[in-house]
Symmetry: C2
Subunit: 445 residues, 2 copies
Amino acid sequence: MSAAEKVDLLVTGGTVLTMNAGRELIRDGAVAIVGDTIRAVGTRSELAAKFQPTRTLDARGALILPGLINGHAHAAMSLFRGLADDLALEDWLQKHIFPAEAANVNEEFVACGTRLSMLEMLRAGITTYADMYYFEDVVACVTRETGMRGILGETIVDFPAPDNKTPADALRYTEKYLRDWENDPLVIPAVAPHAIYTCCEKTLLDSAVLARQHGAPILIHISEAPFEIEASKQKHGVSPIGYLAKIGFLGPDVVGAHCIWVDADDIALLKKFSVGCIHNPSSNMKLASGIMPVVDFLDAGHPVGLATDGAASNNSQDIFEEMDTAAKLQKIARMDPRALPAIQVVEMATIGGARALHLDRIVGSLEPGKKADLIFVDTNGPHATPMYDVYSQLVYALRGSDVKTVIIGGKLLMENHRMLTIDEEKTLCEARAYQKKLSGWAKLA
Amino acid sequence: MSAAEKVDLLVTGGTVLTMNAGRELIRDGAVAIVGDTIRAVGTRSELAAKFQPTRTLDARGALILPGLINGHAHAAMSLFRGLADDLALEDWLQKHIFPAEAANVNEEFVACGTRLSMLEMLRAGITTYADMYYFEDVVACVTRETGMRGILGETIVDFPAPDNKTPADALRYTEKYLRDWENDPLVIPAVAPHAIYTCCEKTLLDSAVLARQHGAPILIHISEAPFEIEASKQKHGVSPIGYLAKIGFLGPDVVGAHCIWVDADDIALLKKFSVGCIHNPSSNMKLASGIMPVVDFLDAGHPVGLATDGAASNNSQDIFEEMDTAAKLQKIARMDPRALPAIQVVEMATIGGARALHLDRIVGSLEPGKKADLIFVDTNGPHATPMYDVYSQLVYALRGSDVKTVIIGGKLLMENHRMLTIDEEKTLCEARAYQKKLSGWAKLA
């Protein structure tokens, strides 16, 4: 018998949801990992015979699945969680969020808020997230230090932002940021012109040109609210998506969050340009933004990712909650309980989200050669018993708090609910200090 | 100084959400309990000076609130959780749920499923629930043995049920059941004619008469699905609520689950007859039943309770999830982010739910003289940090898994996440045996 091949880590014994093309489920499965990469996926007995691991992790009684993908977040805004809920959009933004940002957002704030969000997202099994905020270099530092994977976009707007006072300043900041983080194993630096109603045509195109010079992704809010559609039709004579297509902004490097108010022509354009589309069901409901026609996107063969949006508008950063909400929202919107079945929702949270972020070559499924981003989900709770269908269970019964172990790029970040790369007490303590400082901006101070 | 008054239990140190008429919040609060009843609610220092407790429970860092009320459940159906999701209503009922019930539901099944649900509900902070199922005497036994509070209704239908083959048999069973459980400190036996489309007029009225002879509550599904409304208009010339009013069924002892397809006249009738109305947002979305106009009920001054419905149609029995979903569903349905603000949702889960169940004299708020049903909710998680508004946090950020301690009628049922009156391992083990037995009825066997 030949000597077994050495691997760094062997995960064994749970049910593996590969989310590969055949959506293969492997009971009593295993995943072998070398460095930051998956070497093999198979049954426990197969892989035990083939590999000699430096370390073995027992996942019996758990589901082993690709780390969840949060396609749109504003991580630092966790410090604004619940600051001002149940308000009209204008009041919420103009009287609470914008003044609170102007007065408080600096590098320390962003570091603290981002670290708090890493903690929350990791505890709920998120391994990759896309972010849009200010001081994105700080977001990248915290993400890297925590060991999460992120597409992190520096936000560019025409009005003075907490970090840069003009779009020109923001573009200069972003150019340096893109250079500083190129080729990082976890952080993918990106450019994030905020939206068509906060960026003029020049800002949008300057942002896109800069991103394309560096091969960086472009993150943007698209068609989130009715006012945006009305304004675009009035100003440009076309929908926001028609406008972005016309000016040459759209492309396979663009990720659009929301995409709610779209017609068949818009969906066709998004597909034609391979624009990644991200659904934020909880945020869209809570802010009464509207309902993205997710089923129409999927019917058109265009993948959709799932996301939490920022904690000021949701207020949870938990993809399990978004899975549950996404499925139920399509059903009620279409008055059809068959709409968006559980397996499609799990796809949105994994391989579909990876496709929407243009990252499906490296994450989104458990397959040899992909990055070793995986989570163990405990299925022993009373709320998850009995279990007839793993996809139904993940979407409708299991919760973020059932995630027990998180591995990103082959590295353990949480083991049996214990955080390994973040000082949890310190992070919470710092966040509570901001709670005191910010309470003057709260709706009910 | 006079001798302090003796109390059995003093809960101290958390923030008390009294949910009393003034919605008083008491920081560093305390609750004193004698027997199964609240003796006093106040600040920690006030109550520490006044009372000498046999036992003290430290609730620092937690929210102390009235136990949550689940206004409509089918507890034993937890064994069908996820058996057959994402199906058209007819397929779901006729091809999966009804055959699975006919073949499997007996006293052992009901005991096992109910015990599993007690575990799930208690872990999520539910202290009172309303139930409709078969073999309700068994449900009552398990509820009593666990120490939960319940309005438990024996289901009466015109077709042969797992326990009784005719409505006459069911009425005889129910009469004995009502007598056996009268004056129980926790179990309120009830009569549950299923719905107007499964009970003829005679069955509805016989059920109501029996209930009224015994002073028992009447539980029924009302206006859940469009077909029910169409059939009622065709057959009776009026809406289901109009019909129930006309035949003398409605009254202040009736609790109606769903009440989705209602107009202003229906709401006025429900209010006129003081019918308790229960909203099941997750179930209504998942089954695509429709959206209850909750805001219209509240605007009309008629209270609404919250509920999970059965685990075959939701699939979670967690009022935190229902709070979050209820708030967001009204906002998106009305395209108004101000609709159903957080405090109104917490009311629905506590005092409003108690009103809807006609139990507000004994539960729903923390006030002297009411039953000592209270829960501690841990607020230290990253997903619940920072906290600016306790109501926002409860609805939009906190989760069932944050409930750490549950007291019902002065008795501890869960302490620091440890179950005290249910053998958790045994219950889960028995439920898993049913999983094997039932998997032949699963959609994806």
